[in-house]
């Protein structure tokens, strides 16, 4: 044996929360991304206060107004203010994104953890996940949404089904690595029940990759909501979401491009913020994970 092994003090395996936070706050992507997402979040939360008009109010007099000093983003063919609709749209888009993250997180973790921890179930579960992943996510979401019908809840379900398999795979991979580690063995030796081990140790340690993945899922969900709306299986009108405002402007793309352009920019800002956050989280929580 060597002097190195003796002198080299081993670091504790998990970094304290404080240190992680400090590293995140020092990460430029985290600051910019966080700022963008926070802005969108605040807009969504205060939509009722800051939107200049009722996003649902029809006003035939002002149909298809180009952006001006009153209607900053112009109006649609109902005469509804696009700015107000984008502001309120942030709310539904974030709800869809957030709920998809929750559902995907919950089911992806559950499926991945079960597959990773209970070996007999691993193969059947993961083959099913492979089968789901054998479709492009958007096609899968579209099919599911078409089956279920267009509603906010169904869009969330469709997106969760499309994103959960990949998440399950990530969780399973983490679980497989961690369950072989010493401290899990130790806990098992001490007589902790399987379920407790699973929850207390494995999941806590698989959290890093999961958080990173879910941040990207949020971004994916926002993009996919828009795509589903475009095909006509998104959240139903008249309540605005980023996607259905664009879908609504489709027939007027040439004469009133503002209906299409502004919610698109809102999507870009939101998704860019989420991607930046995801990159920062990846750098800090899961440095080995690829883009």
């Amino acid at each position: 044996m060597t002097a190195e092994a003796v002198l080299d003090l081993s670091h504790p395996p998990s970094k304290p929360f404080r240190e992680t936070l400090a590293r995140l706050l020092g990460h430029r992507s985290f600051v910019i991304g966080g700022f963008l997402v926070l802005i969108v979040l605040i807009i969504a939360l205060t939509a009722d206060l800051i939107a200049p008009f009722d996003p649902l109010r029809n006003a035939a007099r002002v149909r298809l107004r180009a952006p001006d000093s009153v209607y900053w983003f112009g109006t649609d063919h109902f005469g509804r203010d696009i700015l107000s609709r984008v502001i309120h749209g942030a709310r539904i888009s974030l709800i869809i994104g957030g709920a998809t993250v929750l559902m995907t997180g919950l089911f992806g973790t559950l499926i991945g953890a079960v597959a990773g921890f209970f070996r007999p179930l691993d193969n059947p579960i993961m083959r099913l996940m492979d089968a789901l992943m054998a479709f492009p996510a958007i096609l899968l979401a579209l099919t599911v949404a078409a089956v279920l019908g267009a509603s906010v809840v169904n869009v969330i379900i469709a997106l969760s089904i499309a994103t959960a398999p990949h998440t399950a795979r990530i969780v399973r991979a983490s679980v497989l690595v961690i369950r072989e580690l010493e401290f899990v063995e130790a806990a098992r030796a001490l007589g902790a029940s399987e379920a407790r081990i699973l929850l207390r140790h494995v999941l806590v340690n698989a959290l890093g990759p999961l958080i990173v993945r879910l941040t990207y899922v949020f971004a994916i969900a926002i993009l996919a909501e828009a795509a589903l709306s475009f095909i006509g299986v998104g959240p139903p009108p008249p309540a605005p979401s980023f996607g259905n405002i664009i879908a609504n402007g489709r027939d007027f793309m040439v004469v009133a491009p503002w209906i299409t352009i502004f919610p698109g920019l809102a999507i870009i800002v939101t998704v860019l913020g989420l991607n930046l956050l995801g990159d920062a989280l990846r750098d800090v929580l899961d440095p080995r994970m690829k883009v």
Binding site: R127, L128, D130, A131, L132, A134, F135, P136, A137, I138, L139, L142, T143, V144, A146, V147, G149, A219, L223, A226, A227, F230, I231, G232, I246, R250, M253, V254, P257, T260, I261, G264, I267, I268, V271, L272, N275, L276, D279, K290, V291
Partner: protein, 314 residues
């Protein structure tokens, strides 16, 4: 190598079997049937019922399952209700369209993405790197269908330099084909370009930081020699992985982009089938897409084995 292939193929076959169950099952959950598409709003339920019988939609589930499997095992995907042709035939008709769109987008995004990623990696930490990465991330955040719409407004409507949609087969006119495919290919490629650029950069940075690069450096070899003979061959594995992912993702992307640009490809076939409940086409189309997806993955796996001698042993 042979054992490796057999194992991969067996795995793919199992997944395909599950996919066939899923694609058959999903249509039984869809409300409505193709009869509605043949009839207008004034159609009465007994008219619909007649048509259902005529289209063979009233057979019991068990019978349809048996028919489905006995057909697909023979490689026959059945007959479209709405297109008056076989599903296989319908897919093959559209395949060149989708493949040329996805193929050109893939080439565009791989060439531009790898080049950008390599520039960024070699200029690691410098302003060029940061600019490329910011651009890549921005590209990654754009909804592709929205970009398609914007491209139509700008290039087709405002400037009038390219068509707004439709597809000209290369057999009809090469310039027409290029013109018709340019905007959709760009709309599709931008997102993936960003993705590939990020991956290439990350992969190359990782490779360039590895010990064997230092070994090569210690031999006194030139930088170019090291980059080309030691760096790139090793970065090829992750780049191949991304290319595989991108090829799959492009397949998904074409579904939407074909819709935006009215391009008669496989994606529109399937969406159209979903919206009109052309069940054989939905089933066959989904099965086909999964087959392509799995084939891409298999190809990527085989490429690994060629590029990375370590894989062959596993």
């Amino acid at each position: 190598m042979l054992g490796f292939l057999t194992r991969r193929l067996a795995g793919a076959f199992l997944v395909l079997l599950l996919v066939s169950v899923l694609s058959f099952g999903i249509i039984w959950l869809v409300p409505g049937d193709p009869a509605a598409v043949f009839l207008d709003a004034g159609a009465t339920p007994d008219q619909v019922e007649r048509l259902r019988r005529e289209l063979g939609l009233d057979k019991p589930l068990a019978m349809q399952v048996v028919e489905w499997y006995s057909r697909i095992l023979k490689g026959d995907l059945g007959r479209s209700i709405l297109l008056s042709r076989g599903v296989t035939e319908a897919i093959i008709e559209r395949l060149p369209v989708t493949l040329s769109l996805a193929g050109i987008s893939l080439v565009l995004s791989v060439v531009a993405g790898v080049a950008a990623g390599m520039v960024a990696a070699t200029k690691h930490g410098q302003p060029v790197d940061q600019a490329v990465m910011a651009g890549a991330l921005f590209g990654l955040s754009i909804p592709e269908f929205w970009l398609g719409l914007v491209l139509i407004v700008v290039f087709a409507v405002q400037l009038g330099v390219l068509p707004t949609g439709g597809f000209v087969p290369p057999t009809e006119s090469i310039t027409g084909w290029i013109r018709s495919i340019t905007l959709p290919a760009i709309a599709l490629a931008v997102v993936h370009m960003g993705f590939i650029a990020r991956m290439t950069r990350a992969a190359l940075l990782e490779v360039l930081s590895q010990d064997f690069i230092r070994t090569a450096d210690s031999k006194g070899l030139t930088r170019l020699h090291i980059l080309l003979r030691h760096g790139l061959p090793n970065a090829l594995i992750p780049i191949l992985t991304v290319t595989g992912i991108v090829a799959g993702s492009l397949l998904g992307g074409t579904v939407i982009i074909e819709q935006v640009f009215s391009i008669p490809g496989v994606g529109r076939l399937i969406i159209g089938a979903i919206l009109s409940r052309d069940f054989p086409v939905i089933q066959g189309g989904l099965l086909f897409v999964a087959l392509v997806y799995l084939t891409i993955n298999l190809l990527v796996d085989i490429c690994y084995a060629i590029v990375d001698p370590r894989v062959r042993l596993e």
